[in-house]
Amino acid sequence: MTSTVRALARHEYRSALRSGVLLLLILSMVLVAAGSVAIASYDFKAQVADYQAYLAQAKASGAPVASAPQFVPLQLLRGTIEYVEIIGAVLAIGLGYLAVARERSSNTLPLILSRPVRGRDLFLGRLAGAAALVTTILAATAAIAYLVVGTVGGHWLTGTELIRLVLTFGIAILYLLIFYALGTWLSARSKVVANGLVVAVAIWLSVVLIIPQIGDTMDPDNQVPGGLFAALQVKKPDEKRVLAHFSNYERIRNGLEETSLTKHFERLTFAITGIKDKYNGKPLGTIAYAKRADIASLAVYVALLGVLMWRGLKRESATRRET
């Protein structure tokens, strides 16, 4: 990293820190993450208590006993990951927008451009600054999640679990940087910077909330509380036989979900953390192979938004140089 890139990154980071935005975002994410892991822990304890009550009844009546709920510590992070994918994304858009808005209102770009700063340095500096910001927010979130799993959940994560936690939050950094780039690109290409924010928020609404919501609603198993096949008391092999007749519908539903960047992020991180039971305890190599399509899609989005952010900043530089 050149000294110019480092200086620009430091400027980006310090500006966010000075405005109080960084502290506000850290506080918000830490609070929702702590609450979410604590609630998931209490939820699991409630399941265990319900199971104990059921076990006593089943033993008294001599009925066959079902297996106890399995404790997978990283599954307690499900709510936190969902908060990152929903709230984290909108906060990252906000950070991208604020970086452009702040620069326009303080008029610092013409000053920077009066020095021998290349477009590439400007782009890399902004990106490095944003990465540092997002990493600070997510590191605080991961740390509080680790602490709450240990204290409320009653389990301190082991080395392997910690690696998976770090990997998950590493992917989350990339995911948030995509939205940061979206916010920067759209704000930089708008004459009125707030208009860019609005378009970015509309994209966030569609990609993060609406498309996954439609996909979830269209899932036949989501039509009954607890799942359709569980309600019909249909076993897994019969369920598979039934769903084989609806492969086209499932393909359309899945295709719709796959248009959403958020779903790729969710599928990958849920596999790594074992939230998706199918991947629970599987080696990371096996998961990476099984989730190669999601990894590739995230990589495409990273590259695409990176290019768009570059172009947005180039345009912004050209406009500001003229003015």
Binding site: S28, V32, S36, Y83, L205, P212, Q223, P225, R241, F246
Partner: protein, 308 residues
């Protein structure tokens, strides 16, 4: 023409010019149009899945369970609206409330307005009336789209009782959204920066839509997006026994519960229970309204335009 009406008209014109408002309104109307189709598509598929399950079980010599969807009411096809209103509608409402304050501030017209004999209360009520009129117009448009959607799906217009229930649902939705108009207004009045005001409004939206249902019912954020959800059992957990006591004050959960009952049980709605579910929404509405009024009365409108 009274001052209140003039302010309300100016507020409506300003909203119509706002790109943010038009974009969010467009998304809400498109999703309202689509919600009937999504409901119908999911319902038709699940019925086919059930029929296929019966065939599979019968072929294996097993007994088939009763159809859980046999008596599903026709209006329940619009269940997705119970999600889209708090999701998209609330954001739109925050934009309406926020713009009602920041548009004048940005254009620098507040100083001009108050250089004339305009009372703070008249200004406040004018802004509120303009926002309310916009809200009513949006809800009427959504109602129209829902009627058309249901007509196309069911190949016939909704019955009189269904129309009444739909009107009730959109009246409730309008009331719920007005809560967020006031959130947007208060957030904008408390902050000088337009973006910070918007973020503060969005933060309240996150708290109401995602964080509170998780606290009171253990619903994860993504589970809150599904009209059919599975709250945690509170019986075994002392934590949820305590937090579930806050459920009557969780406006989002009360809105969803009452809306579901309006769209599904209809004439069997119990007035006492419904009033109980409406009470927290009304209470927050009054409290926020009073706060916004107080802030408008105390605001220093001689300041410069909003910062970003």
């Amino acid at each position: 023409m009274s001052t209140t009406i003039v302010v309300a008209r100016q507020q409506l014109r300003s909203l119509a010019r706002s790109r943010t408002f038009v974009l969010m309104l467009g998304i809400l109307l498109v999703m309202t149009g689509l919600s009937g189709f999504i409901g119908w598509s999911s319902h038709a598929t699940i019925i086919r899945v059930y029929d296929q399950t019966v065939q599979t079980l019968t072929a294996a010599g097993k007994a088939a369970p009763p159809n859980p969807f046999a008596s599903k009411p026709r209006l329940s096809l619009l269940n997705n609206m119970i999600i889209y209103i708090p999701l998209i509608g609330s954001l739109l409402a925050i934009v309406i409330g926020q713009r009602s304050v920041t548009d004048d501030r940005q254009a620098g017209v507040t100083r001009v307005i108050f250089s004339r004999p305009v009372g703070r209360s008249s200004y406040f009520w004018g802004k509120l009336a303009g926002s309310a009129f916009a809200g009513v117009a949006i809800m009427i448009a959504c109602l129209g789209l829902s009627v058309v959607g249901l007509g196309l799906i069911n190949q016939g217009l909704p019955t009189g009782s269904e129309l009444v229930r739909l009107a009730l649902f959109y009246a409730l939705s309008g009331t719920y959204l007005f809560l967020f108009v006031l959130v947007g207004m208060v957030a904008a009045l408390l902050t000088r920066s337009e973006s910070l005001g918007l973020f503060a409004g969005v933060a309240v939206w996150v708290l109401v839509t995602f964080a509170t249902p998780q606290f009171t019912s253990g619903l994860r954020p993504v589970a809150s997006l599904n009209p059919v959800n599975d709250p945690v059992a509170t019986s075994g957990s002392p934590f949820f026994k305590v937090t579930s006591k806050a459920k009557p004050f969780a406006v989002n959960e009360q809105y969803k519960a009452l809306s579901t009952r309006i769209l599904t049980v209809g004439s069997r709605l119990q007035p006492a229970t419904s009033a109980g579910q409406l009470a927290p929404i009304a209470a927050f509405l009054l409290a926020l309204g009073a706060w916004a009024h107080l802030l408008v009365r105390r605001q220093d409108f001689s300041e410069d335009t909003a910062r970003d």
